[in-house]
Symmetry: C2
Subunit: 559 residues, 2 copies
């Protein structure tokens, strides 16, 4: 299952690393210098907000936001590994439930296969495994004894599972066989790792199915792809483009790969969202997974046919994409549907001179509002921590991305309203207490769709159809991805990457992040094809390619 990332040029990588480090150093320094703004035993770096601007230094901003919003902790013991904290796991579990419900309805069943692969099974399917070989983690010892045969931690489970598909599938009655597992896989990346987007271990689901015919397999590939699009669009408010990968970018050993592709406005890069592969009969031939043909032609003796297989995977990467798209200089911005706390209520106008009985009554009212919202299905909490100012609390919950803040003070109480502030737009207003249970859910859905629409407009306006080669690099340089007429040939793609890779040494701004002069790669052949290609006539846009264009193909700098 290729979550296969792009390879940025080495110089660009080094530069980005350097800049991220500088920004992190700056943040740490700022934290040290910060004075304690509150009473209580909290130490300084707990209370300081964001210090890096998203537009000024995007990689450092990202690193800071996932740390300070308590989504991620770096696992300093072993580089390239991350701890997913409760704020992340809530999102992942929301996605998991949503997806699990839908694949159960498709009769996909859950299984759990071992995390290790023997070197023997790896040899069976060399072509597929070649891509993963440099990243395999090898267990060679148990206790103080060397293992007779080393075992590798799974980077994906084709080679773990398919020997058993061969055993379990005896007859066409056993088809379709559809199994999914939720687990973690290990790919010991040599490249720079990034929280969620590229880690040496990550959580995902991997579905592996077997079908009687190409048609049945193909139907499922698209059903799953649509679910992946649903995770992005409906839960994470992230627009994606559905399409097929080129031969160069498809899953190693598969037949064809479909994908949902996202877009990061801050740096104009494309990012692979999730992939649903048809493996064809390639693996069933390697692993000898056959059934007797249930419909032999005429009087022919029934012959054995190889099953058609799919595999499909969605990883915690989705969380990173969501953070990058919606977050701002105040911190995380969470779409309401995946936010553990959708509404945070903060009492205001309560001071040291407020009479205890007034304070108590006010807090009782807060509790009542919370109950009202909970029964309306809204995940609500209030923040009555002593010793923190309302302003401090506002910042804290903004950093954590809670979609809607309700402020409630004696003045609001007098008017039977609550004041609200939207996290995404900052818009403020009041809602009558009597209308909370209808207005708040409505407002949350508005926030959800506004987030999506904003991101969708951004992606749409940065997906440029280009028919003149000279306009490609300038388009990339202003953070676009491009749609170009393309021959879909692997060699031509390699050439395009070379042609668009900058090799000049750029001057380094001390903190400012310039778009790295990374070459572009193909992201997908969108299912939704613009007009304009005349078959047998329109040429591939690559000036060094002689071939005719097959399709519009989306290219971009990419993760």
């Amino acid at each position: 299952m290729a979550d296969a990332p792009a390879e940025p040029s080495k110089s660009a990588l080094k530069k980005a690393e350097k800049q991220a480090k500088m920004a992190a150093d700056k943040a740490a320094k700022a934290a040290k210098q910060a004075t304690l703004a509150v009473v209580g035993g909290k130490k300084a770096d707990d209370i300081i907000g964001m210090t890096v601007s998203k537009t000024e230094n995007f990689p450092a901003w990202y690193q800071e936001v996932v740390l300070k919003a308590e989504m991620i902790e770096y696992y300093t013991e072993i580089s390239g590994f991350f701890i997913l904290r409760p704020a992340s796991m809530f999102i992942w579990n929301t996605i998991r439930k949503w997806f699990q419900e839908r694949i159960e309805a498709m009769d996909v069943e859950e299984a759990s296969f071992p995390m290790f692969l023997s070197s023997k099974s790896l040899e069976k399917e060399k072509d597929h495994v070649e891509g993963f070989a440099p990243e395999l983690a090898w267990v060679t010892k148990a206790g103080d004894k060397d293992l007779e045969v080393p075992v590798a931690v799974r980077p994906t489970s084709e080679a773990v599972m398919y020997p058993y598909y061969s055993k379990w599938i005896r007859s066409h009655r056993d088809l379709p066989l559809r199994l999914n597992q939720w687990n973690s896989v290990v790919r010991w990346e040599a490249k720079q790792t990034t929280p969620f987007l590229r880690a040496r271990e990550f959580l995902w689901q991997e579905g592996h199915t077997a079908h009687l015919t190409e048609e049945l397999a193909g139907e499922e590939v698209l059903q799953i792809l649509e679910l992946y699009a649903g995770v992005y669009e409906q839960l994470l408010a992230v627009p994606v483009v559905r399409g097929r990968k080129t031969e160069k970018e498809k899953f190693a050993g598969g037949y064809y790969t479909t994908t949902v592709e996202g877009y990061i406005p801050s740096n104009g890069r494309g990012i692979q969202g999730a992939t649903s592969h048809c493996l064809g009969q390639n693996f069933s031939k390697m692993f000898d997974i056959t059934v007797e043909d249930p419909h032999p032609k005429g009087d022919e003796k029934a012959k054995h046919i190889h099953v058609w297989q799919n595999s499909w995977g969605l990883s915690t990467r989705v969380i990173g994409v969501m953070v990058m798209i919606h977050g701002d200089d105040k911190g995380l911005v969470l779409p309401p549907r995946i936010s553990k706390i959708q509404v945070i209520m903060i009492p205001v106008g309560i001071t040291k001179s407020t009479a205890p009985e007034d304070k108590a009554r006010h807090y009782d009212q807060l509790e009542e509002i919370k109950r009202t919202l909970k029964s309306a299905g809204v995940r609500t909490d209030y923040d009555i921590r002593d010793g923190y100012t309302p302003a401090w609390k506002f910042n804290d919950w903004e950093l954590k991305g809670v979609p809607l803040r309700l402020e409630y003070g004696p003045k609001d109480a007098a008017k039977s309203v609550v004041s609200f502030a939207r996290r995404d737009t900052g818009e403020k207003g009041t809602i009558a207490i009597s209308e909370l249970s209808t207005e708040v859910p409505k407002l949350l859905e508005t926030i959800q769709s506004d987030l999506y629409n904003k991101a969708e407009a951004s992606f749409r306006s940065h997906r440029i159809e280009i028919t003149e080669w000279e306009k490609v690099i300038p388009a990339l340089d202003v953070k676009n991805v491009v749609l170009i007429p393309h021959c879909l040939k692997e060699k031509c793609e390699d050439k395009i990457k070379d042609l668009t890779t900058g090799n000049q040494e750029e001057t380094e701004g001390p903190e400012q992040m310039k778009a790295p002069s990374m070459g572009m790669k193909s992201l997908c052949i969108p299912f939704d094809q613009p007009a304009g290609i005349v078959k047998g006539e329109t040429k591939c846009l690559n000036p060094e390619c002689e071939a005719l264009a097959e399709s519009w193909c989306m290219f971009g700098r990419s993760y």
Copy 2:
């Protein structure tokens, strides 16, 4: 988290292995000789039922039932690993949902920590890790490069998590910190592995919490233990004894361990069900997890105090215990609450001479009954596979343990009833169609409680209070566990094990499984203490021990 198993004597182990192998060979032979009982493309070993009797050869029976009921597949690539098939994962997920809901209500949050431990963090807590060292799987290579520092796959996550507890817990306001993760852990056992009960990789949940005081930690230990008891008693219909582990058997490095202990009637062995540990301040001292004392005495300057920690784990072992207790010579017997299919409907009396329109109408009626039951919350399916006789289908669903079979034929239709057969007792009867939606749920609950009551009666009658040492071994030999007055000292326990270990070579019955002459170990000090021990007077039962008895302690041969 010690799922620490007992160590049977080596000779007993070898014997059991030999017998299991013989039985498996016999089963394989029987499968080969079986004639095809059905049409269709199924191969012989798919359709043959159980061949080994539970009473005649329990280990072989167990191996056969988990395989043939399609719960487990042996992962032949690497020994000691098992594949959990959908029939197992449904049960595990049911348990997971039940438990997750309840710990969420306790404000336990979910996290996901890396699966690897650096050798450095291991050094930090040598005492605790000593027990796991011989079972650690070491990754020493990534791709073709040796790692600078080898990393171990987690056998449990104390050493992975607690460095971050030290970082995250800054003030008493951060307490309690309660995190749980659902994952798999690896313990490269040298001992014989058994599906579910002892595997080199297994699924579990591990909760790790930190509290301000011993009292708060202690409350949670018991809350969790009660949830573990609930998983066994309420979901799996398995009775357990709640208690505390002796010093010898407690979790390495912990303060005290509480446990739920089960009992396998077929061989009279005790089995540890799940454990909830109070770690005390042992780990917080090693990992430097402190907060300022929020209640310093008098004018004292606030001092730093080490937090009180718990850890608690429940593994897929629970499934194995359930299988062993309820299963019979026909196969699996599933308690309705954890059975994916609670009711299987099988059409009867439909023959080749049945008119197609009659058959279609009959199947429509089946569909309607299914809908009725589904809306009554009953997980129902029907089996209308062509080419299999009703008798074959009965056997197949009995093998798979479905709690209730409904047979429906033209004769039933004429009387507006369905015929039922209980999987657990074989009891048969009829239910009026008009009463299905009330009677079937009621019957399922009866099956659930009958299963529990039967197992509970068996455990109760085999838990014998003994006050004369001479009666201990005879009691063990007739499949009891024993309650004896005990001093609770570690050395005395070692001695008791020696004294009860048989060293005579027994004659080997070719297939019959004799109780192995395994020494007994302490299972727990039950919370529920019988009367009869006079403090300062009653002696420890061990004839070679001079000490006074502290408590009744439950001992037994054990997994």
